[in-house]
Symmetry: C2
Subunit: 332 residues, 2 copies
């Protein structure tokens, strides 16, 4: 295992220190609780809090800032944050207008955000949750009952985050996040396994000419292991599965995320985007907005995931709302 790290136990703490030092104008890390919050408090608004295991950077801590999250909780690598961390995050940023948890559907995350919610409700805090479950690959998985939460998380955090900035109520922000969640679908493919630092060897074996279709972001098994093929063929398989699932229909306008899994160079992601545009064009689906880059990763895994969101006018308008976070920055 070759990684740019020091002690294995310090990986998450040091990465958070690095993130907050590099982006001190935007975020602040609280080392004791491994929580990242905005550097400056916003005007009273519904606060959005997410979190999960580390190893998926920039998710979630890289999305804290104006127009997205108010706080994020970083668990150990591929391990849920604790209820204590989540409560700390809320205590740091709660402005009294209510709290929305954005939780990827993994059993540990569900459990810990639920415990935190009970504690906070006991303190009189108004908390709602959205459980993100956009991965069409498999139902029930290594750490998940139901569908896993993956790339759709980025769209939900962006769009709900923008809505909260406009002063929308907790119920309204939750409804919108639910609507995005209901209209977003994802599938990924791995060219290589990730290697968890504490384990020191690849999570799964994969032949020199093999890929795993429907991979999870922790290396959980997908739908099929097949021979390596072209970008266009991989796009046809995974985007095909995504389109057929919702289903997306001719005439739909979508936001797409072409997401690198951590070890994938940008030049390849643009080739995938080009293939995806052609594939969707053939299905009569129009790309209205897009992101191409590594936004939700699996350590050093090489591979790609494709996320499609059926857009409506409100989502488009909120997508275009400015955002200023360490990992996503847009203005016009």
């Amino acid at each position: 295992m070759k990684k740019l790290i020091n002690k294995i136990d310090d990986v998450v703490a040091e990465a958070l220190k690095g993130l907050s030092a590099a982006h001190s104008d935007t975020v602040r890390a609280i080392p004791e609780s491994r929580v990242v919050v905005r550097a400056s408090s916003s005007s009273p608004k519904v606060v959005l809090i997410s979190g999960g295991g580390s190893g998926h950077e920039p998710l979630h801590c890289g999305f804290v800032g104006y127009g997205m999250l108010d706080a994020a909780c970083a668990g150990e690598i591929f391990t849920s944050p604790t209820p204590d961390q989540i409560c700390s995050a809320v205590h740091e940023v709660n402005g009294g207008r209510g709290v929305l948890f954005l939780v990827k559907n993994y059993s540990g995350d569900i459990m810990n955000f639920k415990i935190a919610r009970e504690i906070l409700e006991g303190e009189g805090v108004d908390v709602e949750s959205v459980v993100i479950c956009d991965d069409v690959s498999v139902t029930d998985s290594t750490w998940t009952v139901g569908r896993r939460g993956v790339g759709g998380t980025v769209f939900i955090e962006k769009i709900a985050g923008a809505y909260a900035e406009t002063g929308a109520s907790l119920n309204d922000v939750k409804s919108l996040a639910d609507r995005v969640n209901a209209n977003v679908r994802t599938m990924g493919a791995a060219l290589t396994s990730c290697t968890v630092p504490a384990v020191g060897r690849p999570t799964f074996g994969l032949g020199d000419d093999e890929i795993e279709l429907g991979i999870g972001i922790h290396g959980e098994p997908g739908r099929a292991r097949v021979k390596m093929s072209s970008s266009a063929e991989i796009v046809e398989y995974i985007a095909g599965a995504v389109v057929d699932d919702l289903p997306f229909r001719p005439g739909d306008e979508v936001a797409v995320l072409v997401n690198g899994m951590g070890g994938t160079p940008l030049i390849e992601l643009y080739i995938v985007y080009n293939d995806l545009k052609q594939f969707l064009g053939g299905r009569g689906i129009k790309i209205g907005r897009n992101l191409v880059g590594s936004y939700i990763t699996s350590l050093d895994m090489q591979g790609v995931s494709i996320t499609l969101l059926r857009l409506d006018n409100q989502m488009k308008e909120l997508w275009d709302h400015p955002v200023r976070t360490p990992a996503l920055c847009m203005w016009r």
Copy 2:
């Protein structure tokens, strides 16, 4: 070789199509000449043009847009753009206020930008060039006489690009770019080799416990091949070489780039940044501005480079100028 590509001959053309389709509000690709220009023409100003071999994405085409480049020319993978491409780029964007070429120091690039300059001067176009040579690792290399141009390119494109937006003259923008070039230094380290698509196997061999210090962005040899060590030790070696070269002195304020080589996950880059901050603190050097991410890459290589620029007030002010390109976007 597992890569998300289609036909090897189509890699660059398809990636440019993908880039320009994904960022059509910012850039436009001209397929015949493999040139990327801004989507909308700017008010008359000095135009900045760069280019080089592909395989280093997002450099250079990802830096076309407001506040940075006016056009970029994409050669084949690790191959210089031709004089024809460069002339096409100038013809597309020249507004009559003069043209500045930003050229990384590789023999092919130097030759082709020089030929283009002669052609353009024959047409009456006012052209100046800056040859970027910030890599302290080695003098004279596989494709270079003198020092290689690497991460410093990103700082030069950003700062000179901002200055050009303010209406500065060609001589003034060139002087500033020269000053940035004179004050910027870089060194990299590779954990793995890159694999050029047309070759299909790693460019160089490297043991499972070895790293190459001073690596070039095409996999050219560096200073030393050593056993894998910790992030802090790697930082001490490469940042030490960078600091000693200029030299950077106690009291200096610097901009730093912690740059992933294409296959390096962000979590590792933040650990490196944390180590770098401590290292520089120990030398009495203050980080005034920073970038952490994969900005100048070597296909799928895993590794990192560290760039330091000694800042002055003008550079800092121009660094903070808003920028809106596919790969770098900042506003306050």
